[in-house]
């Protein structure tokens, strides 16, 4: 991919870095982006939860296809990036209190999955970019990972 095809990766105007601290551990920095800005950044279609585009703040994301890893290592209000489109992905997001789901590498969930997401109020995005590149775009834009919480809390659940 040449540089002209890349989405613009820059700090969005008018936003500031925030300092995230949990239980007195070392302060880590992460950028807050609206879901709308995330969708634009990774050129994603919104397939559920369009009403949350302008209201939902994202500062943490994780990429995983193993739902048990999601349940064990993702913190609340994390954006999940996955190549899996089963209903269990939406269930896992709901149970773990995640902000939303991005399906990568052109995967599209079935109508049953979209209906479940709408019923549970979980936004779904879909991008053609593969997992690695989608994660990279968000990380470069300042979105943090979940490891900083695990390290700060000394726990992973």
């Amino acid at each position: 991919m040449d540089d002209t095809a890349r989405p613009a990766l820059r700090w969005p105007a008018g936003r500031v870095r925030c300092r995230v601290a949990r239980r007195g551990a070392a302060l880590m920095e992460a950028m807050h982006l609206k879901l709308e800005e995330i969708a634009r950044l990774i050129r994603a279609n919104v397939i559920a939860g369009a009403d949350k585009l302008c209201t939902l703040d994202i500062d943490t994301a994780c990429g995983a296809d193993l739902m048990s890893d999601v349940l064990a290592f993702c913190h609340e209000r994390t954006l999940l990036l996955t190549g899996l489109t089963s209903p269990q992905v939406v269930r896992s997001a709901e149970v773990a209190g995640l902000s939303g789901i991005v399906f990568v590498r052109g995967k599209k969930p079935g109508d049953d999955v979209i209906e479940l997401a709408n019923a549970l109020g979980i936004p779904l995005l879909a991008t053609d970019y593969p997992m690695f590149e989608t994660c990279g775009m968000l990380y470069r834009a300042g979105i943090g990972g979940t490891h900083r919480f695990s390290r700060a809390e000394g726990t992973s659940c």
């Binding site: 193993l66 739902m67 890893d69 999601v70 349940l71 609340e76 209903p87 149970v95 773990a96």
Partner: protein, 149 residues
């Protein structure tokens, strides 16, 4: 019934073998109930994750069973009991990465050998009682007063 029992809330949820379409509904319901009771969100999350893993285990491995939620003033108890087949080697089943789940389960994002370890990780107290041919009871306890103390 003891005085403490009078302040407890108990709910039972049946879980059918291989009912993957419904898997997760019990965990969603448990989360909803605990929220309505005003339990701290981090405890709700831990209880919901433990319940979901228990529920998936019942769907994937058991001949059917139930999940029982019990909320007392000091603790949340999630108990999953089934009608078999039982766990032959509990020590191996507790090892992260060890799984006997079939490929169809792995395609859904489960069956990676993290279910029981995840339940233990989310619990303040965790026990398994299993007998081959009889069944398994897994109990996860989360103490309400412990958060922030």
């Amino acid at each position: 019934m003891t005085a403490r029992d009078q302040h407890a809330l108990e709910m039972d949820f049946a879980v059918a073998r291989h009912d993957f379409a419904a898997a997760g509904e019990v965990a969603s319901r448990v989360k909803q109930v605990l929220r309505q009771l005003g339990i701290a969100s981090e405890l709700v999350r831990r209880a919901a994750v433990a319940t979901y893993e228990a529920e998936m285990n019942l769907v994937i491995h058991s001949n059917g069973g139930k999940v029982a939620l019990r909320v007392e003033p000091e603790r949340i108890v999630v108990e999953a009991c089934d009608l078999g087949p039982g766990i032959p080697d509990i020590e191996r089943a507790m090892r992260e990465g060890y799984s006997t789940a079939p490929d169809e389960v792995r395609e859904m994002g489960f069956g990676a050998g993290m279910g029981l370890p995840n339940m233990r990780r989310c619990s303040d107290s965790f026990t398994i009682d299993s007998s081959v041919g009889r069944g398994t009871t897994v109990t996860a306890v989360i103490y309400i007063a412990q958060l922030g103390s």
